[in-house]
Amino acid sequence: MDWNALSLSLKLSAITVAFLLPMGLIVGRFLAYHHFYGKSLLQAFLAIPLILPPTVLGYYLLVLLDGGSFLGHLLETLFGQSLVFSFEGLVIASIIFNLPFAIQPIQASFESIPREIREAAACCGLSPLKVLLKIELPLAWTGIVSAMVMTFAHTLGEFGIVLMVGGNIPEETKTLAISIYDKVQAFDNQAAGVMSAFLLLFSVMAISFTYLIAGRYQRHYA
């Protein structure tokens, strides 16, 4: 087991989740309750990472984050270093790549709350903030937890985009998935097998957990 790679993968996943949780809540709730011109276009744009090959998305991010581009230059000035082949760059790429995994389940869970429930809460004298905290979040929490678990698991196993944007720098951008690839290239099938088994187990647990909480919710409240 490449413990450095595992540690880096866990760190990247945790930071990605930390950024995407508030972002997913704000954007997901907004999309669930508001109708505006261009909503479908925005939703399609946010869903692009679902259908685009990770290497293609990684290539565009590589071009965008490169110091030669306007955005890359701006970010380089802001961070004091190039974001390409750096952990910070990896975080940005990971956030963008995981946008649909975070936003879509949260949006769906907010959409599933009937309008009357929210209106009843307002008629009970709850302010919009209290409606969010006392009614909406408890009812949407299965979607929120699913989004976070899926984002974490997805980031942990991501390969293509990490390789394109981060390269393969030990202790900087070499994640577990890249390490598995390295081990296979070096004919170290045992190490690759252990790490693959870990990712497989983690993925199964993550999926089971999301189904479990969804099922418990259905049994209790639906």
Partner: protein, 374 residues
């Protein structure tokens, strides 16, 4: 500004068209009646602050909740409104007690739960406090919704078709409970329903809405038997609406005579109609009196007609029959009688019967072209 009750007018030309004016006093039940899409629920939502109208004024007790001219629009959570939604809209993740306690946000947690428990006891739900909405029957859910709506000590109670999701037996029991409950409340109650019988049973007054316009307000009996137009009569489900011509005015005898189906009908004197004028008239099905088939009586001289029964329908202890009055012109008169009367007179399809139209029950309306005009 009125010191008590609700005063409201709403006008809107875009989106959902509205032109509604109504008031409801404290301790009064006002039923908003009308077909689907007439704007009943929109009015409730506007009162609760859940729907914004272009132009309007909503004053409740001593508070102005909406005045578009003065740009006043109080947020829904700041209006003291008790709202019972059509499907109750209970919070599925909270127990019955917690659902009620949500409305008591101004109290400490202990006091909240204690008071919520006492409210649930009031609506006969003692012992079910810890149950979640999905563990309650439709009637029990409705009681929780009512307790939750009243917990806030609202200035008005809004009921949006609260009986539509329960079976008929439960509905009857809930009717009784609402009648009892309203005696203990001194606030206006607005009930949205499309069931005219429900409105007649529960409401002091009703307001008939159609396409966002309030057509007529008054007591259920008044709107039902004295509609201002044929449109109101049709919406009040009156089956006997016809056209006729005024043929004679006899003010000295307090009689106005109409010509209908080639026969003269006498009604109470109506000074505002002229001889020769075309009018519409109606009579409730319950006020068409059946002549006893084996024994004539004195009342048979009052606007008598004969005809053949062409339709016979038994519903809830009452029989509704359609009588073909004038065969070549296919004019049908509808009449409803208790089942025992129908049995005693051996009413059946195809038999000829005599009926009288009570002059006091005949209501005249301005002329409008009808399908069965002759």
């Amino acid at each position: 500004m009125p010191k008590t009750g609700l005063k409201l007018w709403l006008r809107q030309t875009h989106s959902i068209k509205l032109n509604i004016k109504l008031h409801c006093q404290n301790n009064e039940v006002l039923a908003l009646v009308g077909p689907s899409g007439s704007g009943k629920t929109t009015v409730l939502r506007a009162i609760a602050g859940l729907y914004s109208v272009e132009n309007g004024l909503i004053q409740c007790q001593q508070h102005c909740w909406l005045d578009t001219k003065k740009a006043i629009n109080v947020a829904s959570h700041q209006r003291a409104v008790g709202f019972v939604f059509q499907n109750y809209a209970l919070f599925p993740h909270l127990s019955a007690q917690e659902n009620v306690a949500v409305s008591l946000n101004h109290l400490s947690k202990n006091k909240r739960l204690k008071y919520a428990k006492s409210l649930l006891k009031k609506v006969h739900l003692e012992g079910l406090e810890k149950r979640y909405p999905m563990q309650l029957s439709g009637g029990q859910q409705q009681r929780v919704a009512v307790a939750r709506a009243l917990a806030r000590e609202p200035k008005i109670l809004l009921l949006d078709e609260p009986f539509s999701a329960v079976d008929q037996v439960t509905r009857r029991r809930l009717y009784k409970e609402l009648i009892e409950l309203r005696r203990s409340l001194s606030i206006p109650i607005i009930l949205v329903t499309h069931d005219l019988n429900e409105a007649t049973l529960l409401a002091d007054r009703l307001c008939l809405l159609h396409h966002g316009v309030s057509l007529q307000s008054g007591s259920p009996a008044e709107v039902s038997t004295q509609p201002v137009s044929t449109q109101v009569a049709k919406l009040m489900d009156q089956p006997n609406i016809f056209t006729a011509k005024i043929v004679e005015q006899k003010p000295e005898k307090k009689i106005t005579q109409l010509l209908w189906c080639g026969q003269i009908i006498e009604v109470g004197y109506r000074a505002n109609y002229k001889v020769g004028q075309k009018i519409c008239w109606m009579i409730p099905a319950s006020d068409v009196i059946l002549h006893r088939r084996r024994k004539s009586s004195k009342g048979e001289r009052e606007n008598p007609f004969t005809g053949k029964i062409v339709d016979y329908m038994l519903l809830g202890g009452y029989v509704t029959v359609s009588i073909e009055i004038n065969q070549p012109l296919k004019t049908y008169l509808s009449m409803s009688v208790p089942l025992h009367v129908a049995r005693r007179n051996e009413l059946a399809l195809g038999i000829f019967i005599g009926v009288s139209l009570l002059s006091d029950s005949i209501h005249l309306m301005p002329y409008e072209s009808l399908r069965n005009e002759f």
